[in-house]
């Protein structure tokens, strides 16, 4: 590598002035200098006392424990997982409909995907939380708030997961289905036993990524009326921030999100790297 580099360097005709390598080094030095200056300016101008007071009140943060974990984080995880499971099942169904040889199945699945990918998740939360109860008085979504959140998150994520799963199924070589059919598998049985297991290996990284997105989207529960016991991280943080007139709870809630999303993101990248190797 470096040998090749130096030969090229040597072979390059000498021009007057700075060499390309020197220019690059200089430009990098300038960028570092600007960065350091910006940080220094921020450090000098910021009102550190006020900021610490607003965002990092140790005793206030301490009071949030263990409830922010045992209640808020727990609810966030519950909402996310139930939404993910519902979305995965629905997404699987929609993906298979999208690939069906029966026209109407394909159309219904296509329309579903377009609608639910095109709408803001917030609108769907409002729809499930407000519009449905108004439109169908008396009908209860089973599971109360948990059911509503699972439904809203599931409806949104199913559209994305359906497209991911469909792409995964189509990435399995055609010969796999032909081999299975020639052994006497029915189309459905071949899908279940041969194609989908292979497709799932392909889509585990993007589905894990979807889990991260859902984890964040569960904060939209904020817009549903929830009881004290049903609060998740965002609402818990906000409520506490307004009662104490201090931003520390928001910061702590944010750290709780990162506690989950950063490791999950790391896992996704590892999985993607592994999938890339396998090819």
């Amino acid at each position: 590598m470096s040998g090749a580099d130096t030969t090229r360097e040597r072979a390059a005709p000498r021009k007057p002035g700075l060499s390309r390598r020197r220019k690059r080094a200089l430009s990098r030095a300038v960028q570092y200098a600007v960065f350091v200056a910006a940080v220094a300016a921020l450090a000098v101008t910021a009102d550190w006392g006020r900021l610490r007071n607003q965002f990092a009140q140790g005793d206030l943060a301490g009071e949030m424990f263990p409830e922010i974990i045992t209640l808020a984080l727990r609810n966030t995880v519950l909402y996310t997982v139930s939404g993910f499971v519902f979305g995965l099942v629905l997404g699987m169904v929609v993906a298979l409909m999208r690939l069906s040889s029966v026209g109407p199945y394909r159309w219904v699945a296509g329309v579903y995907i377009e609608i639910f990918r095109g709408l803001p998740a917030l609108l769907i939360f409002i729809f499930v939380g407000v519009a449905v109860p108004l439109a169908f008085p008396g009908t209860e979504i089973p599971g109360g708030t948990y059911g509503k959140v699972a439904l809203a998150l599931g409806l949104v994520s199913a559209a994305y997961m359906a497209e991911t799963i469909r792409a995964g199924i189509q990435a399995v070589p055609r010969g796999q289905m032909e081999a299975a059919r020639s052994l006497g598998f029915s189309h459905a049985r071949a899908m279940v036993s041969i194609i989908v297991p292979q497709a799932f290996r392909i889509v585990i990284p993007p589905l894990t990524n979807e889990l991260v997105l859902l984890f964040k989207d569960s904060s939209l529960v904020l817009f549903l009326g929830v009881t004290l016991q049903e609060r998740e991280l965002a609402k818990y943080g906000r409520d506490l921030a307004s009662t104490t007139a201090n931003s520390t709870p928001i910061l702590v809630a944010g750290l709780c999100y990162l506690l989950v999303t950063v490791p999950l993101g790391f896992v996704v990248r590892r999985l993607e790297a592994k999938a890339g190797e396998a090819k």
């Binding site: 081999a179 006497g184 049985r189």
Partner: protein, 275 residues
Amino acid sequence: MSTRTRTADTARTADTVPEIEISGLHKSFGDNHVLRGIDLEIGTGEVVCVIGPSGSGKSTLLRCVNLLEEPTGGRVVVGGTELTDPDVDIDAVRRRIGMVFQQFNLFPHLTVTENLTLPQRRVLRRDKAEAARVAAENLQRVGLAEKADAYPSSLSGGQQQRVAIARALAMGPSVMLFDEPTSALDPELVGDVLAVMRMLADEGMTMMVVTHEMTFAREVADRVVFMDGGVVVEDGTPGQVIGSPAHERTRHFLSRLLDPAMAEVEEGRGGPGPG
């Protein structure tokens, strides 16, 4: 290993029930009229090699025999069951027809043994022990018992193709279809696969083999069928079709194929059996 050498009059077409009967078979892909009226009978225990230029419809013909392609016209009867009858249980018919593909198509997420047991369990509803026993027996037959727990990706192409043959055999088929089973293999791996196919032929399996391996066709086949442009141009013993072709198209095809290929065969490309 004994090679079976047959003269023209030992070919068993006339005196046995046909295992495969194809009559007036047509297949079009849109405007592309690929098969233009194929008539072919293959007797029980017969080995028929199908040769012909690329694009002449050999794969399509083979795939019509187990309905991987839906014929647009004509009849296909296998083991007395008419496949082209809309009421036929195609999955049941396919269990009796093994198929081996050019690209092996092993299931990459399963071990070699699982590749053999899963179809038996799911399709034939065999119990675990029985499926495992049949799997081991067939891996033994193709000489790969020691690869039972390997994943397909760790095997050579020749080994993968032999596993694919074993997987088809584990279903207990009465007919085996081979679509250029050695075309994707490195030359030095071709012999092992051909040896397994020779063994099957010796055991009396009914076989329909699309191949460019002329040595194999000459030595193992009871009949050779030459296809061109979606029709059967010539159909006879290897001696007739390869040895003294009656049609100009056959001669042209063979001269183009044999000249370079024969040299390779002579230089040790052939199977382990006497050449």
